[in-house]
Each structure stands twice: as C-alpha cells, then as structure tokens.
Symmetry: C2
Subunit: 204 residues, 2 copies
Amino acid sequence: MATPHEPKQDRSRATRQRLLEATIDCLAELGWAAATVAVVAERAGVSRGAAQHHFPTREDLITAALEYMFDTRTAQAKQEAALLDATTVGVARTHAVVRGLVESYTSPLFKAALQVWTYAAADPVLRERIVPLEARFGRVSHRRAVEALGVDDRDPVAHHLVQATMDLARGLGLANVLTDDSARRKDIIQQWAATLHAALYPEG
Amino acid sequence: MATPHEPKQDRSRATRQRLLEATIDCLAELGWAAATVAVVAERAGVSRGAAQHHFPTREDLITAALEYMFDTRTAQAKQEAALLDATTVGVARTHAVVRGLVESYTSPLFKAALQVWTYAAADPVLRERIVPLEARFGRVSHRRAVEALGVDDRDPVAHHLVQATMDLARGLGLANVLTDDSARRKDIIQQWAATLHAALYPEG
C-alpha cells in the first residue's frame, strides 16, 4: 500500500519500475512465452488493471523492458569501469576489466536479453528495435574497457582484442545459460587476461 | 529377402531425414514456437500423416532433431579437422583451426540450436536432454582442435586457450544472430589467431 506522503507521480514511477524488473525476472526464469502482462503483474504484486494502465499491450511491456534492460546494462558497464581502483595495475587490472565484461554477460539481465534476442531472430520488427540498442551497449562497453585498459583504440591490435574480449564474454554468457559454468569460466577468464595482457603490453 | 528398386526402409529413412532437416530450417528461420509438426511436414513436402507416423508428437520431433543437430555438428567438427592440409603450418594453421571453430557456431545449425537452448533455459526437462549432447559436442570439438594445433592438452595454458577459443566462437555465433556480423568477425578471427599462436608457441 502507498505511503500517504509519497506523491502520486513517484508511486506511478515506482510501479512502472517494479513491472519492468518483474518482466526481466520472468523472461530470465520462465522464458519468452511466459512473460505476459498478467504473469508479470502478479510477480510485481501489482493489480492487472494498474499493469495495463502502464502497459496496455504485451508489446508495450516488452519494448519498455528492452530499453530498461539496455539502460541498466549500460549504466552497469559505466559503473564497473568507474569502480576500478587506480591502484589496481598491470595484469591484475587487465584481469579486473575482463572479469567485469564477462560479468555483464552472466547476469539475469543477459538471460532475459537472450530470450528477447532469440525470439527477435525470427521477428524482423523486434529485431529492428534491438539492433540499435545492442550497438549502443556495445559501443559504451568497448569505450569503457579501452579507457580502463589505457590502450589506444586506433591501434588495430588493441581494438580487435577488446572486441574479441567482448565476444568471449558473450560466449561465456551463453555457456552459462543451461548449466552453472562458473568454475570453468574462472580459469578461462584468468588465462584470457594473461594472454590479452601480454598481447596489449608486449614491452611487459 | 527380395530387394525392390527403392526399398521401403530406405524411403522411410529418407523421409525421416527430410523431416529432421526441415525442423532445423524451421527453427533457424521461424523460431521455436513456429516449428510444429504441421509446419515442418509442409516444409519437407511430406504429408501430415506420414510426418506423424515418424513423430507422433512435437516433443518426439524436437528430441530427434536435437540429436540430429548434434550428430551433424559433431561430424562437421571431425571433418573440418580432417580436411586441414598437412602443408598448412604455422600461424596459417592456427588461423584455419580458429576459423573452423567459429564456422561451427555461425551455421544455420547453430541458429536452430540457439532456439532450443533458449527455450530449454526455462524448461528443466529439455535442459536435461541437451546438456549431455552439448558436453559431448564440446569434447569432440576441443579434442579435434587440440590435435589440429598439435598442442599438449595437459598443459593448462593450451587447454584453457583452446577452451577460450570455443567460447569466443560461441560469442561470435550469438553476435551473428541479429545482424550479418561477417566483416567484423573476419578481423576478430585474424587477430585472435595471431594472439593465440604467439601464446601457444612462444618459442616462435
């Protein structure tokens, strides 16, 4: 129940956010087909009428959730890079950057995004909506990784190795969807960080 | 026993294979929900009755298609490695191995498998069926790559770098689902082959 001092507009915004977060949870746990307005409303503890006030159709809900997902992932990528301590240097820094990128592909947000991507693979309208969002997320992630690593992105070796690291992260994310892959992943991240570090800073 | 011109058993086997290939095409192009026995039968040019004789339920069809997919991917991984010319050596050989691994994740077979994986993420019964198939494919792919590269898999650096290359390949496959990523992918493959080669054979 709403607290009396909470303005109506804030309550409405909080309800909207609860619905979007419930959509992500439903997509990640129950899959594409199950994430309907009714199921999401129940998960969010919001009446179906209130949910339909915010999102009249399932398409409205999925579209809003998609933008919310990308905004959240982009904000997390920025925050991840900002949190990196200036005293973390050398291969430890490279390791932290690689681990941060991989983490962004192993969260429930990635599992939810995978449901939408996979559906969009056979749905051109949804695909057209996702491609620019995904491209923007990719650019922000790439830029933050380049800054954190302190490399020159105009150098094709550095550029392509940062891109490869994001592809590795996406692949590790996908490998984690059907089983808990965290033990194997830890070793892969460590080895990739060492190899990446040697390739990016050949002078040692 | 008499052998007619086209034995009934062979015809039946050919029909079954046509249905399985049509299932993969339908999954890759139309997505999970659209790949029903009726749609697949029409795509295969097989009567619905004949399709139901082979696969009474959609579950039977999907299960058989799943095994067929993994058998085909595993056979392709073996063939890919066998086709590698003994005169292809040095970084060119490493490049060919990386390219072969990545190709196995960018085929229509991968797109079909992704539809099943993603559905299975929220379906424990299907997941239990896929996990051992995927593990077997991973082992065969890994072993063939190790053989083709001529490295010692007991060396943790080599072991983890071959694993990482498969994770990179999976990530590149996923990046190719919503857009044609082939131009970017070519550069990533080339750079990773060079970096992998330097890491696997440090003596040059």
